[in-house]
Symmetry: C2
Subunit: 193 residues, 2 copies
DNA sequence: ATCATCAGCAACAGTCGTGTAGCAGATACT
DNA sequence: AGTATCTGCTACACGACTGTTGCTGATGAT
């Protein structure tokens, strides 16, 4: 939970740690609205001086990195809590979808950034991706997916649907959105047989 | 086709017009790889001097605007050629999907930009969106979509699928990709009934 | 052939974002 | 209470990108 420090490894004082969190959250808000916003704007949104941002994060990249690592950790944790390897596939799929949606609703920029192609986070992406494929494989074995489905494609579609659902204006309830995502993933928008 | 001029309204000389096209295409390549690339990089990729870019486009925004308008026009034209209001819905859907995919494969940055939320292109988006909904309505009437399907959601899913298909590495054949997109849109990845 | 237009080039000014440094006052730890 | 740490503030240096101007030579149009 703590030690998000990027510049110093010495344990931070309580108020400094609070600053880090505040800056991360402000950066999420500001950069979500404008990915090229200056650190000045981030600092202003966080209610701190610009120099404080530089004090806690060596440079812009370090700040973004901290946001991405934060969100990747959240996603991993949230997948864990959905028991993807033991719960019934449909249950796990729904629960994990809802959980991931909740993360994405709160950290849209960091989420987008962590899944950007060709980034230094390919490793983190791969791990999550592997877990996704594993879950989909279980779903396929359970007959939820067609036997000849391309799982990589299914995975991409799944991500895309989560992305669209997060942009939705009608609702921000992860459970409702998850239902829509999973339904659409499995059956599309065509008539149910 | 011509008169893409952004700075002058007087008809351009032939070589100048060629410059404009070259710059637009170079900008697409460069900005697709890095949306914050400098105009210097664009100029270099186009094989012209930076000042020439400024000669043809008053500022960065004007350049991007030209790219977006270009792509919006292409998409409109490509939808036209699919006869969305007269051809059988499934045929039109497939053909338009393939056509739009072809555009998106060539102009990924401009496409992304023109569909960015909260941009000055909301008008253009709305028009295309309306045509998409109209086509989906016809598809629904033909029984291709469930009667209770939320068409706005279906539309978003459709766009997202096109986006994912365009990122696909396995194939760049619009026809094949379109098949995948339409299939997935209508039936998801679940087993066919 | 003549003339308007265009492109490359060099130089310049201005703006903005980044990153650093030092100091003074406030705040947390023990 | 004493000490180390943290923050805001001001100031500065630096680089990058932008946009303009004027010139010369080249090229298209008629």
């Amino acid at each position: 939970m703590s030690a998000v420090a990027t510049r110093e490894q010495r344990p931070l004082r309580a108020d400094a740690e609070r600053s880090v969190r505040t800056i991360l959250e402000a950066a999420e808000k500001v950069l979500a609205a404008n990915p090229t916003a200056s650190l000045e704007q981030v600092a202003e949104a966080a209610g701190v001086a610009r120099t404080t941002v530089h004090r806690r994060f060596a440079n812009r990249q370090a700040l973004v990195d901290a946001m991405v690592r934060n969100v990747l950790d959240q996603v991993e944790a949230v997948i864990d809590s959905g028991h993807p390897d033991t719960a019934p596939p449909l249950v796990a799929l729904h629960q994990i979808t809802a959980n991931v949606l909740a993360v994405k609703l709160g950290w849209p920029f960091a989420m987008q950034e962590s899944f950007a192609p060709g980034s230094k986070w390919a490793e983190g992406q791969r791990h999550i991706n592997a877990r996704c494929v594993r879950l989909l494989t279980r779903a396929q074995a359970a007959g939820l997916l067609a036997p000849d489905t391309d799982l990589d494609w299914a995975c991409k579609v799944y991500y895309a649907l989560i992305g669209e659902a997060a942009h939705n204006t009608s609702s921000t309830d992860p459970q409702l959105l998850a239902t829509k995502v999973v339904e659409t993933l499995l059956h599309g928008v065509g008539p149910r047989a």
